[in-house]
């Protein structure tokens, strides 16, 4: 009954779209992550794309998990054309048929991408258009010393000044998996990680969003936090003395993907949009503006910028990736266990 109603609603929505004035430009609906990211996204990708292809792009702000929830809810009548994920949600979306596969030949920039960026295409996922490395953010003015490795989070020198991020946040989940890994755990065995975090909780703040992270560095006297390289730059631009350190034990990363939503009329244009996001110019822009690492080998960067991102064949080969399929399978139980652990 309700499926029927939503089908009818979907048909009506499509009919409405078709009935709108013929003069209207082609239109894409995409998601972006809000804040500074979305501003730069508009400047680097969305606006130049609209100009180049004479199309309209409507942006809806939705973080990855919210975006996936919306895609699911709209399965009968999807409202997005291109959906961006940062937490490996493309694995789920592809498996559930919410996004369409893209062939590498369909992307003019496909041949210039590092292999890791196109690896997911065979599973029906979108390409990786940027990488955010995860390491340790620290306040270089206030912290008593510069951290060097993940294990330093437990150094008593930083007591009462550690910020942890909720596992519902993509960066938080990866940071936790890394802490778990250095304590001897694995995705299937998170006990060491939870045990180790438990020891930190008494003197740490737990946040769930990036703005909360900024607030803690700005107002709440935070010194050290596992978080992303790009966000360290965002905080520096906001005038905070924050530096990024790659933990000696390894650098996990967030792989930002652009995905083609299934069952939408304007897939051709949507593919052009995804391709556009992969160009070396756009990727150099991301590195310059926000310190996201490029996935396109042809990207040219200044020395200062190159030092603040993961750049070049050799550096790229050092990135680690927790298996997104395994992470996804464990996500719900990890999040629930985390919630129970941190609740007071």
């Amino acid at each position: 009954m309700f499926a029927r109603v939503s089908q009818i609603a979907g048909v009506l929505a499509v009919a409405g779209a078709l009935a709108s004035p013929a003069a209207a430009k082609d239109k894409l609906v995409i998601n972006s992550y809000g804040g500074a990211y979305e501003q730069i996204h508009r400047k680097l990708v969305i606006e130049p794309f609209m100009k180049k292809y004479d199309a309209d792009v409507q942006v809806i702000t939705a973080y990855s998990a919210d975006a996936l929830a919306q895609l699911r809810a709209q399965k009968a009548a999807p409202q997005f054309d291109v959906i961006h994920f940062s937490g490996g949600q493309e694995v789920v979306a592809a498996r559930e048929g919410l996004i369409s596969p893209i062939k590498i030949e369909e992307l003019s920039n496909g041949k210039d991408l590092y292999p890791f960026a196109t690896e997911g295409l065979s599973r029906g996922e979108g390409p990786v258009h940027a990488v955010a490395a995860i390491g340790l953010l620290y306040n270089k003015d206030k912290a008593p010393k510069k951290p060097a490795k993940w294990a330093d989070l437990w150094d008593p020198a930083y007591k009462d000044h550690v910020v942890l991020t909720d596992l519902s946040n993509s960066y938080g989940l990866l940071g936790f998996l890394m802490m778990n890994k250095i304590k001897g755990g694995s995705i299937q065995n998170p006990d060491p990680g939870f045990e180790a975090v438990k020891g930190l909780l008494g003197s740490a703040v737990v946040v769930s969003t990036s703005p909360e992270m900024q607030q803690n560095f700005a107002q709440n006297d935070a010194w050290i936090a596992p978080y992303a390289q790009d966000y360290a730059y965002t905080l520096r631009k906001a005038g905070l003395p924050i530096e990024f350190v790659q933990g000696a034990e390894g650098t996990p990363a967030v792989y930002l993907t652009a995905n083609l939503v299934a069952n939408r009329p304007s897939q051709e244009l949507a593919k052009k949009f995804i391709d556009f996001s992969l160009s070396s110019e756009v990727q150099a822009g991301w590195a310059n503006e926000l310190r996201y690492s490029p996935t396109n080998k042809a990207t040219k960067l200044d020395d200062t910028v190159a030092k603040e991102v993961v750049y070049g064949e050799q550096a790229v080969s050092g990135l680690m990736r927790f298996d997104p399929v395994a992470v996804d399978a464990a996500r719900a139980s990890l999040v629930e266990r985390w919630k129970k652990l941190i609740a007071r």
Binding site: S208, N220, V335
Partner: protein, 274 residues
Amino acid sequence: MRDRVEDLALAGPGILLLALAFVLPIAEMLGLSILGTHRELTLEHFIRFLSDPYYLGIVWRTIYLSLLITAICAAIGFPLAYVMARIRPALRLWLIVLIILPLMTSVVVRTFGWMVLLGRGGLIPFTLWKLGFVGRNFTLMHTEAAIVIGMVQVLLPFTTLSILGVVMKIDRRLEEASRTMGAGFFATLRIVILPLAMPGILAGSLLAFTLSVSSFVTPSLLGGVRLPVVAASIYDAATKTLEWNFAAAQSVILLVGVLLALTPYIKLSGRRHG
């Protein structure tokens, strides 16, 4: 016959809106809450919630915080409403405007205001620190006290205005009679005004309580992830772990809880009016 057609025509749009925007989604939510992973009927989501001390802890926090918030709102709202009812109409208008004014700003904006005031280095902790009441610069954020402070500010207008409506209708001669019979100001307030204002206090408190148990924005922002309430737990299940059926089951439990809280009031007011 014509009357019925006219009645239906008048009530139609409202009923249609209710059916589409309320009854239908609630029905779907009820359906979701009893479906398992393979679309079979099951009570597993309810069992999971009601048998886990973690979730029961969330329920308990939600209830006692809501009761506390409601009690504070009533304790502040009643004297305020009484004063408002007894002053000059022009002044009363200004006070009403003053009370309603905060409702004109989004609850998110108001909550952000509290975040600035309650955070480390914010006005309240900073003043306490500088005056020497506390030993170091601290934060009131992510505490239950922060949730209570923020929620009281959000809900006070509702309670005050409900009480005001009732106190306005109390015959002033009753008060005068009580005073001439020798009762003092506070005795009059306690023996005459308070009982007569009870329906307003009850209605306002119920409003505050139901809004408070289902509130989401203020507790999440001021309490943070370590002090979850039921509404935040529903949000997490729906958007973070994508367990819709579990989220629906939690919503049903919250809905039933609110209905249970409303029942005594509906019974009481039903007896009074008819």
